[in-house]
């Protein structure tokens, strides 16, 4: 028996920003969101019902390779391996397709260690490379541009069967009971709360509380929704970026009126920035989803997260 790989992906994407105030439109939503938006997503904005036509740079960049790669499932043996070793490893890791697909991870001597499937291949492989550097030498990827999980599962099965036929062995990471590749290394941190709750009278201002939080922790993200279920695509994007950077960070849900009353407006005043999400590093406001995106691409992000 082999064990179905459960994808280590980021949080399920919630596609609507339930807010009448402004929030930012990330230019690189994940491919799954782009598909839904292209189909004409409807969401409520106050009294108006709007239809979103999404557009995404990173998606269109990948769409070309998606066309090449995934019109059909290639045989595992026919996919070119991407070697994730040496000086190019980091740039290769950051340029993997943020798309659904199946992937095979080979160790440094070229033995297949694990067959996985993921809603977001890039995040899964980055997580593997981070958690199990000794087992990740190269990967083979087949993007599966289908929203249906069954299609992904079917693709995964085909690769598994092909491998079984040629070697007679289940990849070690897929053996029953082996959780090396599938378990989360660390449980997700709970969201921070600014106050103990509505029954407690505050003796300090919200601004002071915000100030304390952003100075106490190295990286803090103020988001709409919780870390486990962000309620806005931009917040989701920010979490994905921080996850991909492999950095420890704290989150605060600005929509939590019970424990963070008034935070949603207070944080905008604090940073003099009109939108949420907002990310702070070492006490300093660094930006929202768009700025973070560009900082990652320009390599600035790594720099400011160092030391």
């Amino acid at each position: 028996m082999y064990v179905m790989a459960s994808a280590i992906t980021s949080h399920p994407l919630t596609l609507s920003c339930f807010s009448s105030s402004s929030s930012r439109w990330s230019s690189s939503a994940s491919i799954s969101s782009s598909r839904s938006t292209a189909a004409g997503l409807a969401f409520w904005r106050g009294p108006q019902l709007c239809s979103f036509q999404g557009r995404s740079r990173s998606v269109s960049r990948w769409r070309q390779s998606v066309l090449v790669l995934c019109c059909q499932l290639k045989k595992l043996s026919e996919v070119e391996p991407l070697v994730l070793l040496g000086d190019d490893a980091i740039s290769l890791l950051t340029s993997l397709p943020p798309s659904p697909g199946v992937y095979a991870v080979y160790d440094k001597v070229g033995d297949l260690q694990f067959l996985g499937l993921s809603r977001r291949v890039s995040s899964s492989i980055q997580a593997h490379a981070q958690d199990l550097p000794q087992l990740v030498g190269s990967v083979k990827i087949n993007v599966v541009d289908a929203p249906d999980r069954n299609v992904l599962t079917e693709a995964w099965k085909q690769w598994m069967e092909e491998h079984l036929e040629s070697t007679g062995k289940v990849p070690p990471g897929n053996a029953a009971g082996d959780t090396t590749w599938t378990k989360r290394k660390k449980p997700l941190k709970p969201d921070l709360k600014l106050t103990p709750g509505p029954h407690v009278q505050l003796t300090v201002s919200l601004e002071q509380l915000i100030d304390k939080v952003v100075k106490e922790f190295k990286v803090v993200a103020f988001i709409k929704g919780s870390r486990t279920s962000p309620q806005c695509r931009f917040s989701h994007r920010v979490l994905t970026i921080l996850n991909e950077q492999g950095v420890e960070y704290e989150t605060l849900n600005v929509l939590d009126e019970e424990y963070n009353p008034g935070l949603r407006e207070a944080i905008k005043a604090y940073s003099q920035w009109p939108t949420i999400p907002q990310v702070y590093v070492k006490g300093e406001f660094i930006g929202g989803a768009d700025v973070l995106d560009e900082m990652v691409q320009g390599g600035e992000m790594k720099k400011i997260l160092q030391d």
Partner: protein
Amino acid sequence: MGSVTKEDVESTLTAKLQPAHLTVVDTSGGCGASFDIEIASASFEGKRLLERHRLVNTALTEELKQIHALSISKALTPQQWQDQHPSTE
């Protein structure tokens, strides 16, 4: 009430930032809820990305009250714009 149009955003940004290049795309499907902006302006000279975005946000303070989502996909200096689009001019 009246919602914000692409033209509103364009004219405000043109007046306040004198852009060398400006593209505003209404990504809301016409209801004025979200826009994607590419802008190149001499006002960005010597400023960090965050400050550039701040300039755009500040210029659009009024409009932002009604806009649901604003994405600034590019905020460049005219020189950077030229470097990225050598063939256009």
